[in-house]
């Protein structure tokens, strides 16, 4: 469950956005899109691990890909790592997106916001492989930070929105969905909480899976840092790290 994985590539693909390819035997345990790894970027760096989603799993090559935004101390340090270096990876962790919720011929809508986009890539790959039709809506702040549009386009119709209108449609992912009247059997989403809330409110009677973020300690369910409430209970809870990060809309309080 823990390995010093080898960095195969670590390249910038948009402003502050990096694509990291890792090799190691842990890849053989990685199956489900939406699962994440808990990464210690350096021995002498920041104390805690950083949760990062799996973006692409390639078991034949024994490689996986992660896309991250270099923002704070840990991810900035990570962005300086070179091919050949290693990083300490714990994972795969958590419960990912349910691919089995759909069968061949059905329609999935995948909605990603900002740095919530990456886990949708492996999800799209697995759904398409299964014969599911996917439509993808990606929301970003601005043109500079858009990534993977063409990659997603190879799986299905792909729409991009930017908040400032500098690329694609101006507005939010919900605007895209309305504008194009996109429909689906199952909706899968990952991104900032306001986006997830909007989607949950928009489609209260449909099958919606949401991937949540929360500050983590252990990443494995032991420290109770990452809990969220369950509707209609004072004490019931779910842990984002081990019960999630993907929940069915309605399962937890957003």
């Amino acid at each position: 469950m823990k390995e010093n994985m080898k960095i195969i590539a670590n390249r910038q693909i948009a402003k502050d956005i990096y694509e990291l390819t890792l090799a190691g035997s842990l890849v053989q345990r990685m199956r489900t899109p939406g699962q994440f790894v808990h990464m210690k970027v350096a021995n002498s760096g920041p104390l805690l691990r950083r949760p990062l989603s799996l973006c692409d799993i390639n078991q034949e090559a024994n490689e996986c890909t992660i896309i991250y935004r270099a923002e704070g101390a840990g991810t900035t340090l990570l962005s300086q790592k070179l091919p050949g270096d290693t990083v300490d990876v714990l994972g795969p962790l958590g419960n990912g997106f349910s691919v089995s919720a759909l069968s061949s011929g059905q329609r999935a809508l995948l909605v990603g916001g900002g740095i919530g986009v990456p886990p949708l890539y492996e999800l799209a790959k697995q759904l398409v492989k299964k014969g599911v039709f996917v439509t993808i809506v990606l929301g970003f702040q601005t043109k500079d930070v858009v990534f993977y549009e063409e990659r997603f386009a190879s799986f299905g119709e792909t729409y991009v929105a930017t908040v400032d209108g500098s690329y694609g449609m101006k507005g939010f992912v919900t605007d895209v969905i309305h504008h194009h009247r996109l429909s689906f059997h199952v909706l899968y989403a990952c991104g900032p909480k306001p986006m997830l809330r909007a989607l949950a409110n928009e489609f209260p009677h449909q099958d919606v899976y949401l991937s949540l973020e929360e500050r983590m300690g252990c990443g494995i369910g032991a420290c109770f840092a990452c809990v969220c409430r369950v509707p209609h209970s004072e004490t019931a809870y779910k842990k984002v790290c081990s019960d999630g990060p993907v929940f069915r809309a309605g399962e937890v309080v957003l």
């Binding site: 469950m1 823990k2 210690k40 920041p46 104390l47 805690l48 691990r49 714990l90 929360e214 500050r215 983590m216 300690g217 252990c218 990443g219 494995i220 369910g221 032991a222 420290c223 109770f224 840092a225 990452c226 809990v227 969220c228 409430r229 004072e234 004490t235 809870y237 081990s242």
Partner: protein, 312 residues
């Protein structure tokens, strides 16, 4: 001879390494990483009378060489701990130290009474020092008389030895230690977290929803060492030391300061295997230092090799 075996009130430990309360849940998650029977003991998560949800999130924040937490004593309540968690833990050959918390003396007493009867609970750890709850918690941990009264009340009902967990957020830690020793504590565990805070530069808001939280991790190690050094010279009950331990060398440093066993908290989050790794490394470190038995390390920082607390 087992060079790591340690005898403490109520506890025959195969080694002096145990996960610290709140950093190991009730063991279920770490059991996926290794056999819990390798541990000296397990300090389970703080237990209160009723189930508690705890504080809103975010509950953790990173700091230089440390972390803040404000979990707020989330736990399923004493009865579910007794009925669900402790029986599950009984499959492992490892004594349990039950961390007891509450808002009133009565609550502490009731939790202690019930949980001390569980067959695999070999000792209680009185959490008089949790900085993350409004009522009780830290108040019990900062006034010697209040701590003493609580200790006395719990001792009266407990079927097993009682360790009191000291808060470092005090002017005079020795006075606290002496007060609870006098009141009948069988041992001390120290230190709990230091009260700290971080404010987000972008939003100007505290990062923790609870605003303040408890600082743990390597950052606090020198404070823990100093306090254990002071207290161990002032009391004659044993100390289970904690605060920033990451390695076998750190364990030795805590023993030198005056600890007779240690607990590992935050480091479990960084490396889930840290406890078994330290247990594996300790004999080698003892070899390098030409020390036969870990107990000989206790208090060496001040006693130059005299015997201090050495079990019974």
């Amino acid at each position: 001879m087992n060079r790591l075996a340690v005898e403490l009130p109520g506890l025959s430990l195969k080694n002096p390494i145990m996960p610290a309360s709140g950093c190991f849940g009730f063991g279920r998650e770490y059991a996926k990483f290794y056999d819990l029977s390798v541990l000296g003991a397990i300090m389970i998560k703080a237990t209160t009378l009723e189930a508690r949800f705890g504080n809103p999130t975010p509950r953790v924040a990173e700091t230089p060489s440390g972390m803040l937490n404000a979990i707020g004593l989330q736990n399923p309540g004493v009865d579910r701990v007794i009925n669900e968690e402790l029986p599950w833990l009984a499959q492992y050959d490892v004594p349990i130290i039950a961390n007891v918390a509450g808002s009133t003396v009565e609550e502490y007493v009731e939790v202690a009474r019930r949980i001390s009867k569980a067959p695999n609970v070999h000792a209680l750890e009185l959490n008089i020092s949790c900085p993350n709850v409004k009522k009780g918690g830290i108040a019990f941990g900062t006034v010697p008389e209040v701590a003493a009264e609580l200790t006395r009340a719990v001792k009266e009902v407990s079927d097993v030895p009682v360790y009191v967990k000291l808060s470092p957020n005090v002017t005079n830690i020795v006075a606290m230690a002496r007060a609870v020793e006098q009141a009948g504590a069988d041992g001390l565990t120290m230190i709990n977290t230091l009260l700290g805070m971080r404010i987000d530069v972008k939003t100007a808001k505290p990062i923790l929803a609870n605003r303040t939280g408890g600082l743990s991790g390597p950052a606090i190690k020198p404070i823990a060492i100093r306090m254990i050094y002071e207290v161990s010279q002032a009391v004659s009950i044993p100390i289970i030391g904690m605060g920033g331990i990451e390695s076998a060398e750190d364990v030795i440093e805590f023993f030198y300061a005056g600890a007779s066993a240690v607990a590992i908290g935050t480091a479990n989050f960084i490396d889930p295997y840290v406890c078994p790794n330290i247990i594996r490394d300790l004999p080698n470190v003892l070899d390098e230092l030409r020390i036969d038995h870990i107990s000989q390390c206790t208090g060496r920082g001040w006693n130059n090799g005299q015997t201090v607390y050495c079990g019974t």
